[in-house]
């Protein structure tokens, strides 16, 4: 095949025929069209006449051009040109198909697989033996390459999926040796579909493949992008996108995906919690490659709680050359606890230091923690420090809440804890919490007190890393000849190891540890004279760390120094020791069980049951063949679960472009589009031209009469259309279908209506205000998403309806925001709305102005328009929603029905509101029409505003007074609303179940 631009020719020899065109030109020019023969007796009269107008007998120029063009088109057509030609096999003999098959291939997987299949099928046609090998296949490296019938390879390729790891070209090295040693019949044609990225050993293998016969390397138009694992620096999270080729500036969008926890004040633990924990896109950041840069870094700036909820990052919107989304494992990153920003709870026993901040230890702690972690001050000082017994229960409860969100707790000079709090604290630490304590007067007093009781240091407190000696010591005081002590360099076992110890840090006073056999290994920092400054011990999964000085500058200058900030940073970073670092994995003998694994396309799914656990040292080597990226878990000694996220790329990985193929090997680019044969088009064009030529010849011969000309032109057009490429030979069917289509035309339904009728669709009334319509659309989208997540209702895309034009009978719910700009309704719209309400539709009218009224009681600016628009509707009597109304309990039990604002909601008045029935009977079922389902709900709370989300899943509008809690209630109202519309009074009927059962029993 010959290729010319994007066009290839299957029969290029025909193109030589184009050279004959000048000859044809000459011939045609010399051969005028044949005359029309007429039998005419008048010829006798003519005989004597001289033909004065005798023109040279030549073909007119335009006819010449027409005919040459037709001939050229025919020649072109027979050379079988193909647009975007498929790669084609060139030679005979055995064919070796090599695919990378790693995540880099996933970006344009369909195109790759199609290309490979094409090759295999072509080989099958020629009955060539084929061997297929994927360099990333999970199986053991092949010892030999078996050439077999192409059908086997076709089956292999058809079933092939990209692997989430990088390929290893060296794997086929041994297999190649067999051929290299001369054990082959002839030259082997090798085709290597690669991902455009450099892999270890690919150049050498390419050289060896080339030596087997011929090598064609087919790569993508551009190698894929990848995502490096994010890094935490100074408490901020940075993520880098990588690219292989230093091209021009380019922006990449990176989505942060996670399942945010329900807010901590949300005490519901039912379905809601589960529903709201579904993963969604929490943020999208844009990283920009500078011109020529291979790495683009961007900070993911999110509130701590949300950042901690992130489960993965992925590059979104990357399009491959063929336009398909290029999702692959290299562009996705799973996150584990290592990337969480810690939250530290600060608890101080100091009393009344607020007026003198520089004396408060909290001040220094805040300053030291700010760069590394989020902190919150817990107001437990009195509760934890005081001995007042009536507060005990409360403090334990409060502490329980505290432990729910804190990764580390700092207790600054807190002495005795009440038993309940201590138990809770111990439990929390044992689960992996980090407790950092600072000494102080109270702790010193505590040690003194204990000593006073027994005369000797008592049992070691579980919440202190070491036994303390009473009283502590003071250095450099007026009565002391010892000078304040500087720090000794940190021991290697300490997490502080490596930090610079300056001479400016001196300690004047400290609490002393009782010497013991285990003390030395618990010391993380010590003074120059060897007395411990920081001690730590493990408690369960967690740790207890004690600074033997205060958090303020009273006892030492440590809190004033930069060292303190760094020490706190190190401490915070070790905080939950649950997440293993890869460095420590190397000597980790535990086996890690894959929980969630990523496939080649970067999709994360629960690991299959047969996924085998892997030893820690295996994971430490990173993702490679057989070790898929994903989330691995292991059980620690204490029975806790530690998790580790493995990503396709390591932190220090870079992407490099594939080296150019060895000399003599062909390098091609994957064509994204399927090939399009141009032959039919050219043939039909040539046919049309030839038909035109017939007309032209008739014209020249004077045989063309105007009424025949029109007919002939029509025939030519029809023939041209007929000859135009229709899919193969299915013309009869096509025509038949055309006939059916024509028949269908009469009863054709508007596709939008069809969609609305076939799907469950929430609809809103299109007002004359585009801004309001956008909110309605976004709001119903948000509600649809909530319904989809939480209930069995699975709505489609919301639809906007124009009351004047569209058929509203196909919808169940119609949300109608009232605006000042909507014109009065026509009679037609009124009729449709009345019918809609009569036949079970639910009209939700929202004036959206509760925030502009007093107490949401109505009377807002849109009320006039509400009256104006609804005045002609056939409305029932209305009443405010009563607490026992079905709307408050169709799905959730709700006290109020808020949107962005809170306000009264009006529904159809029930019989009870209309007064007792004659005879004093109470109606068993309240409202008669529509089974008591109110056809209209009127409110002012701007529900759509509360529900509104963007396509990315972000909320569009802030909530009014109630914050996210109110948004949750707004969603619950929306769910109730949908349930009310779809299930009616089902819930209120259930009220009567006991009575019914009772009656059945009797």
């Amino acid at each position: 095949m010959t290729s010319l631009g994007g066009i290839g020719f299957l029969q290029p020899l025909f193109l030589i025929g184009l050279l004959l065109l000048p000859l044809l030109w000459w011939l045609l020019r010399a051969t005028p069209p044949s005359p029309r023969r007429v039998r005419f007796p008048g010829v006798a009269v003519l005989l004597g006449l001289e033909d004065r107008e005798s023109t040279p007998r030549r073909t007119p120029l335009w006819l010449l051009i027409l005919r040459c063009l037709a001939a050229a088109l025919l020649l072109l057509a027979f050379s079988e040109p193909l647009l975007n030609p498929k790669a084609r096999l060139a030679e005979d003999g055995p064919l070796l198909l090599v695919m990378d098959g790693g995540w880099g291939d996933a970006a344009e997987w369909d195109a790759r697989r199609r290309t490979a299949l094409d090759f295999a099928e072509q080989a099958a046609e020629r009955e060539r033996p084929v061997a297929f090998v994927s360099l990333a296949a999970a199986e053991v490296a092949p010892e030999r390459l078996e050439f077999a019938a192409a059908e086997a390879a076709i089956e292999l390729i058809a079933a092939l999926q990209p692997q989430p790891w990088a390929p290893d070209p060296t794997r086929i090295g041994t297999a190649l040796e067999a051929f290299e040693s001369g054990d082959r019949a002839g030259p082997i044609e090798v085709i290597w579909l690669h991902d455009g990225l450099a892999h270890e050993g690919d150049e050498a293998i390419a050289g060896r493949l080339q030596a087997l016969g011929s090598l064609r390397m087919i790569g993508p138009v551009a190698p894929p992008l990848a995502l490096a694992p994010p890094q935490i620096r100074d408490g901020k999270m940075y993520v880098s996108a990588l690219r292989a080729e230093a091209a021009g500036a380019r922006a990449v969008r990176i989505a942060a995906i996670g399942a945010p926890r329900a807010s901590e004040e949300d005490e519901d633990v039912d379905l809601v919690a589960a529903a709201t924990r579904a993963e969604r896109r929490l943020s999208t950041v844009e990283a920009t490659f500078a011109e020529g840069a291979l790495r683009a870094e961007v900070e993911i700036d999110l509130p701590t709680a949300i950042r901690n909820a992130l489960s993965r990052l992925e590059i979104v919107g990357e399009l491959s050359a063929s336009g398909a989304p290029a999702a692959h494992a290299g562009a996705a990153q799973l996150l584990d606890d290592r990337w969480r920003r810690r939250t530290v709870a600060l608890v101080s026993g100091e009393i009344g230091q607020e007026s003198q901040p520089l004396l408060s230890g909290l001040h220094y702690l805040r300053a030291a923690l700010a760069p590394h972690a989020a902190y919150r001050e817990a107001r437990l000082a009195q509760a934890l420090g005081a001995s007042s017994t009536e507060r005990r229960g409360a403090s334990a409860e409060e502490f329980g809440a505290l432990a729910g969100w804190a990764d580390a707790i700092v207790l600054s000079d807190i002495g005795r804890l009440d038993q309940e709090t201590e138990d809770a604290l111990i439990g929390w630490v044992e689960k992996g919490g980090l407790l950092i304590r600072f000494a102080g007067v109270k702790l010193a007093a505590l040690a003194e007190e204990e000593l006073g009781y027994s005369g000797q240091a008592l049992e070691e407190s579980p919440l202190l890393p070491t036994r303390l000696r009473g009283g502590g010591r003071a250095l450099g005081g007026a009565l002391s000849w010892e000078s304040p002590q500087p720090l000794r360099a940190f021991p290697e076992t300490s997490p502080f190891f490596g930090l610079e110890v300056g001479p400016e840090v001196t300690v004047k006073r400290q609490v002393l540890a009782e010497p013991g056999p285990e003390l030395s290994e618990r010391v993380w920092a010590a003074l120059a004279d060897g007395t411990p400054l920081v001690t730590a011990k493990s408690l369960g999964e967690g740790r207890v760390v004690l600074f033997h000085v205060t958090a303020n500058a009273e006892w030492s200058s440590l809190p004033l120094s930069g060292l303190f900030v760094e020490m706190m940073g190190r401490l915070v970073s070790v905080a939950p020791a649950l997440a293993a670092s890869e460095a420590s994995l190397a000597e980790d003998a535990r086996s890690w069980t894959p929980v969630r694994l990523m496939d080649g396309f970067g999709r994360v799914a629960d690991a299959p049951g047969e996924a085998a656990p892997l030893p820690g040292e295996s994971l430490a080597q990173g993702v490679r063949i057989g070790v898929a990226p994903g989330l691995y878990e292991t059980e620690t000694e204490s029975g806790e679960i530690a998790s580790l996220a493995l990503s396709a790329l390591d932190e220090d990985d870079i992407l490099a472009p594939r080296a150019p193929p060895p000399l003599g090997a062909a390098s091609e680019t994957l064509s994204g589009e399927g090939e399009t044969p141009l032959k039919p088009w050219l043939l039909s064009a040539a046919t049309s031209l030839l038909l035109l030529d017939i007309l032209a010849a008739l014209l020249v011969a004077g045989r063309l009469r105007t009424r025949h000309a029109a007919l002939a032109l029509a025939t030519a057009a029809a023939l041209g259309a007929w000859a135009a490429p229709q899919p193969s030979m299915a013309q009869a069917q096509t025509e038949q279908r055309g006939g059916e289509a024509a028949a269908d035309e009469d009863r054709r339904v508007d596709p939008a209506e069809q969609y609305a009728a076939l799907e469950t669709v929430l609809a809103y009334v299109v007002t004359s205000d585009p801004a309001v319509d956008r909110v309605s659309s976004a709001g119903l989208l948000g509600l649809s998403a909530a319904l989809y997540q939480r209930t069995a209702i699975e709505p489609g895309e919301p639809a906007g309806v124009d009351l004047e034009i569209d058929d509203i009978s196909v919808f169940a719910i119609l949300y109608w925001p009232i605006t000042s700009r909507q014109p009065d309704l026509t009679d037609n719209a009124i009729r449709k709305l009345n019918a809609f309400m009569r036949t079970g539709g639910l009209l939700v009218v929202d004036t959206r102005d509760a925030h502009q009224t007093f107490g949401g009681g109505g009377g807002g600016p849109n009320e006039g328009h509400l009256r104006r628009l609804l005045s002609r509707l056939d409305l029932p009597r209305l009443e405010p929603v009563r607490p026992e109304h079905v709307l408050t309990r169709t799905y959730y039990i709700l006290d109020e029905l808020p949107g962005r604002w809170r306000g009264a909601v009006w529904v159809e008045a029930t019989n009870r509101a209309r007064g007792p029935l004659p005879g004093g009977r109470r109606a068993l079922f309240e409202a008669a029409a529509n089974d008591g389902v109110s056809p209209i709900i009127i409110g002012a709370a701007d529900w759509a505003g509360a529900w509104a989300i963007t396509d990315d899943g972000d909320y569009l509008y802030p909530m009014g007074q109630g914050g996210d809690r109110q948004r949750e209630y707004a969603y619950r109202f929306g769910v109730n609303l949908a349930m009310y519309a779809f299930t009616g009074n089902y819930k209120s009927d259930q009220v009567h179940i006991p009575a019914l059962l009772d009656r059945l029993g009797n």
Binding site: P35, R36, P41, V45, D51, E53, T55
Partner: protein
């Protein structure tokens, strides 16, 4: 089987003959019917032969006109009147010989539009109608150049004429054959006169020189007058013996019309000099006016010559 084939071969000429005969026989009634219809229009219009002429039965008396020869005066009748002289006219009874030449060459088989009759059909129709009228008038009739070329009277001669009329000749263009006739007879030539002009003029002169009066009726197709051709055309005569090719037939139209007009003018001039009549007839016109003209031309001339000529 072989016998059948052989007998087929032997019978083939007879079969062809019979087929031709049948075709002819089929055409004959058509021709006869059309001729009768055409003749009827003439009889209704001019009352045929009931007029004065050579004969023995009294026809009418009329006032003698200056120039009437004296012997023609009927004295007995004149004596009964006071002053006027009467001439006694007898009804025309003398059998005249009318020699008709109807061109049956290939050129006559032309028609430019299938809705038209061919020139040959129209010419045969006119000739047949004329023959019919003449036969009823008892005139001697000859269709020259055919088996019915000997002047004769009666139904048999008419049948022969009709038979001859429906047969065509192979000639491309026709020319009146030589024939000898008694003086005072009539010659009626019906043709398109597209044949060789010199031969035609020669034939007319020779006929006239035998003392015959004559009528020339040129039957043409409308296309032969309008020349509706355009573009590159190869013109062929009906038997393809003549050819003429032009690239732009449209440009030839005026020349052709001029040439045709000149040809007619020459023919008309020839006729005028010899005292013959000349008329043109197009096949898209009704045949009746041409028939009437033929008949009137024939009889008026007979009257003028028969009465006036005194022969």
């Amino acid at each position: 089987m072989n016998d059948d084939a052989a007998s087929d071969d032997a019978l083939a000429p007879i079969r062809a003959l019979r087929r031709d005969a049948e075709q002819t026989a089929a055409a004959l009634p058509v021709l006869l019917a059309r001729a009768e219809r055409l003749a009827a229009t003439v009889i209704l219009g001019a009352h045929g032969r009931r007029r004065s002429g050579h004969g023995e039965t009294f026809w009418q008396y009329r006032h003698a006109m200056p120039g009437d020869p004296l012997p023609s005066v009927d004295w007995r009748r004149s004596a009964r009147s006071e002053s006027a002289l009467f001439v006694r006219e007898t009804e025309w009874e003398a059998a005249q010989t009318v020699s008709i030449w109807c061109d049956r060459s290939q050129a006559m088989a032309y028609r430019s539009d299938p809705r038209l009759e061919t020139k040959a059909e129209r010419a045969a129709e006119l000739a047949a109608a004329l023959s019919l009228l003449l036969m009823r008038g008892g005139e001697r009739l000859a269709l020259i150049g055919t088996p019915a070329g000997r002047p004769s009277v009666g139904q048999a001669q008419l049948t022969r004429v009709l038979h001859a009329l429906v047969q065509s000749e192979d000639e491309d263009f026709g020319a009146p054959p030589r024939f000898s006739a008694r003086r005072g007879g009539w010659a009626v030539f019906i043709s398109d006169f597209f044949g060789d002009e010199a031969a035609l003029t020669q034939a007319i002169r020779e006929t006239a020189s035998q003392g015959l009066s004559g009528i020339l009726l040129q039957v043409v197709d409308p296309a032969e007058e309008s020349f509706p051709f355009d573009g590159r055309v190869l013109f062929e005569s009906m038997a393809r013996r003549l050819r003429y090719e032009t690239d732009r037939a449209g440009a030839m139209r005026d020349d052709y019309r001029d040439a045709l007009a000149a040809r007619r003018a020459r023919l008309r001039e020839t006729a005028r000099k010899l005292g013959w009549l000349f008329a043109e007839h197009r096949t898209d016109q009704s045949a009746a006016p041409a028939m009437l003209w033929l008949w009137q031309g024939l009889s008026s001339d007979m009257v003028s010559r028969g009465g006036g000529g005194g022969r």
